[in-house]
Symmetry: C2
Subunit: 346 residues, 2 copies
DNA sequence: TTGTATGCGTTATCAT
DNA sequence: ATGATAACGCATACAA
C-alpha cells in the first residue's frame, strides 16, 4: 500500500545494510552506534556517514542478536500472584516506571497462586534469560530459587519475606507489628473485647504473620480468642461473604471482625448488611490493603494501608542496584510502612 | 551452597555440552530435541544417549539463540491502556491463558493512555521482535501501524474498532447499538425524559460511538438533549465525582445520568449521596463495563456489561490463527456481546 | 542415520 | 581510526 520509501527486500535493515550504504565495514557501524558517549576513536566523518545511513534506512538494532552476543537482555521479569488484584497492578505500574527509566522492558507473568505456574515461570526464566527477576513467590522453595540463581546467575528480588537466601533481596512489610497495633487500637480505642478473624490458609506468606500479630494483641490486652470466631476464606470477595453467612448460623457473634484483606472485609460488610445487621454498630469490620473499593463501600472501610507504589519502587530499585553492579554486601531486607486508616466501619 | 551436581564452568549447558557428553554431534542433539513428534530419522539408540545427557546436565534450550536462528520468539506482546484498570486485567488474564496453551510467553506493556508510550511500544516491538501483537491503541495512526507491519511483518490484533487495516483483525463491541438500547430502556421502562451524560474526550475510541448511540436513542424517542447536562470526565472515579459537583451548581438537574464507565458512574453516585440526594429516586445512574465495584456500591450499579474474558479469548485466538498460518481471507472484525445489567441505581 | 559447514545480527579481539 | 575475523547457541542444507 504505502511504499513511498525503499524496497525492503527481506526483513528489517541490519548493520550490514547500513555499512554498505555508508561505505564502511559493519563493525564500524557497531562502534558508532554503541559509543555515542564513551569516546571510542572514530572519525567525525565516518560517524556522520554512518548516522546518515542509519537514518536513511530506519535502522534499529536487533535486540535478539545483541542479547545472544552480550548475554544481556535489557528485560526484567515480574511474577505476580494474581493479575486481577488491584494491589499488584499498582506495584507492576511502579516497577514498570522504574524499568522504563533504566530503558528496560518488563515481562509480566501471573501465577494465580498455583505452584505449578510458579515453577513454569522459573522454567521460562531459565530458557529465556532476563537481566533481573521480581517475584511474589507463594510456594517456591529455597531450593527452587537457589537452582534458578545458580543456573541463570540472575539477580532476584522478592516481595514478601519468607525467603532467606543470601543472593536475594527482600522487600516486605512488618505485617505482624502492624496487625498487632491495629488490633490493639480496636481494643483500646473502640472497646472491643470479642474479635473475630477472617483468615486464609497458613501457607500464604503473610497469613501466619498477621495471625501472630492478632493473637499477640489479644494476649497483651488479656483477652482470649473464641475459636468459633475463626473463619477461613481464600482472599476473595465471595469467601468473605460466605464466612459471615456461616458465622451467623452459630448463634453468637463477635463485636468486631478483622479480615486479612479488603476484599473479604467488604464481602463481610455486605453479608452483614444483607442479614439486617449494622456495621459498625452490631459488628465492626477492619480490613487490610486499603484498595480502592475501601472508599466505595458504605460504611467506608477502616483498614491497614499498604503502599504498593512505594513497594514497587523499592523492589525495582533494589533489583537495578544488583543488575547494574551495585551489589550490596549482604542480603537486604527492606521494610515498607503500613498504616492504619480509620474510616467508619470500625 | 548446594553443589551436589556438576561443576558448571560458565553459564548454563549448551547443545555442545550435551553433544560431547553423549558422544554425538551438536546438530544431532538439535534433531533429537526438535523432533519428539515429527519423525525425522534418528536411531533409537542415539536418541536415548542424547536424552540421558540432556537430563544429566539439566540442559534447557536457549530461546535467544533459537530466536535469532528461526526468527520466531514464541512470545507475544500485549499493550493495554491502563494496567490499573480491572477491565484490562481480565482481558490480559484470558490472553495469557490462550498464550500458555500455545506455549507462548506474554510481554505486557502499559501506555497509560499516552501517545508517546504507544510509540515506544511499537519501537520495542521493532527492536525485540515478537511473533504477535495485541493492542488497545488510543492514538496510534494507520500509518504508525502500517509501518510496524511492513517493518516487522508481525501479526497484529487490535481491541476496539477504529483501525481499518487489511492485515489487522479487530475485536470490539457494538458500543453504539448497546448504548442505544440501554438508553432506550431508560426512557421506555423507567420513564426518564431528561438524561445527562458523563463522557470523555472524543479521541478515546469508544467515546464517539457511545455518544452517537446515546443521541440516537434520544432522537428516536423524540427527546432533546440539554447541553448543560453534558459533563466531561477522564475515565477516573474522581472525575465522575467532580462532574456531579459541577452539575449541582447550575440549579437544575436531569432525572438520570449515563456515564461512560463504571468508575465515573460510581464517583457520581457517591457525590450525589454526599450532596444529600438519593439514587435512583432523585437521579438515576447507569454505567458501562460491569466491573466488580458495580456490585459493591449501594445502590448497586445498573450498567452495560462487557465480557473481558471472552474478549481476551477471541482476540488471542484471532492472533494465533495468523501466527500459526491460518490467515483469514480478509481482515476480520469480531464483535463481542454487550448486555444491560439492571440493578438498583437506575 | 549422522556429521560438516554455514549463517542468524550482533559485539569484541585482533590486526593494520 | 578502521577492517578482517571470531564467537554467542542454535537450526538447517548438504554431504557422507
Amino acid at each position: 500500500m504505502t511504499s513511498d520509501k525503499h524496497i525492503d527486500q527481506s526483513g528489517p535493515p541490519t548493520m550490514q545494510d547500513v555499512a554498505k550504504l555508508a561505505g564502511v565495514s559493519q563493525p564500524t557501524v557497531s562502534r558508532v552506534l554503541n559509543n555515542t558517549k564513551t569516546t571510542i576513536p572514530v572519525s567525525k566523518k565516518t560517524r556522520d556517514k554512518v548516522l546518515v545511513a542509519v537514518k536513511e534506512l530506519g535502522y534499529r538494532p536487533n535486540m535478539t542478536a545483541r542479547s545472544l552476543r552480550t548475554q544481556r537482555t535489557h528485560m526484567i521479569s515480574l511474577l505476580v500472584a494474581d493479575i486481577t488484584n488491584n494491589f499488584y497492578h499498582l506495584i507492576a505500574q511502579a516497577i514498570q516506571e522504574v524499568a522504563r527509566a533504566h530503558d528496560y522492558d518488563m515481562l509480566i507473568a501471573n501465577s494465580d497462586h498455583v505452584y505449578e505456574n510458579e515453577k513454569r515461570f522459573c522454567e521460562a526464566v531459565i530458557r529465556r534469560p532476563v537481566d533481573g527477576v521480581i517475584m511474589v513467590p507463594q510456594y517456591l522453595t529455597y531450593g527452587d530459587l537457589d537452582e534458578l540463581i545458580t543456573l541463570t546467575n540472575t539477580p532476584i528480588t522478592v516481595l514478601g519475606q519468607h525467603i532467606n537466601h543470601p543472593a536475594i533481596d527482600v522487600v516486605g512489610a512488618d505485617d505482624e507489628q502492624a496487625t498487632f497495633e491495629a488490633i490493639t487500637w480496636l481494643i483500646a480505642e473502640r472497646g472491643h473485647k470479642s474479635i473475630g478473624y477472617i483468615g486464609v490458609a497458613l501457607d500464604y506468606p503473610p497469613s501466619p504473620r498477621r495471625w501472630q500479630g492478632f493473637q499477640r494483641a489479644l494476649k497483651t490486652a488479656g483477652l482470649t480468642f473464641d475459636p468459633d470466631f475463626y473463619m477461613q476464606g481464600d482472599w476473595s470477595f465471595e469467601s468473605g461473604r460466605q464466612a459471615i453467612n456461616r458465622l451467623l448460623k452459630i448463634g453468637k457473634r463477635p463485636s468486631a471482625i478483622f479480615a486479612l484483606n479488603d476484599l473479604m472485609a467488604i464481602g463481610a460488610i455486605l453479608a452483614l448488611q444483607d442479614a439486617g445487621l449494622s456495621v459498625p454498630d452490631d459488628v465492626a469490620i477492619m480490613g487490610f490493603d486499603n484498595m480502592r473499593e475501601a472508599t466505595i463501600v458504605r460504611p467506608r472501610l477502616t483498614t491497614i494501608a499498604q503502599y504498593p507504589t512505594e513497594i514497587g519502587q523499592k523492589v525495582a530499585e533494589a533489583l537495578f542496584d544488583r543488575i547494574e553492579g551495585r551489589e550490596p554486601d549482604a542480603r537486604r531486607e527492606l521494610t515498607v510502612p503500613l498504616k492504619l486508616i480509620v474510616r467508619e466501619s470500625a
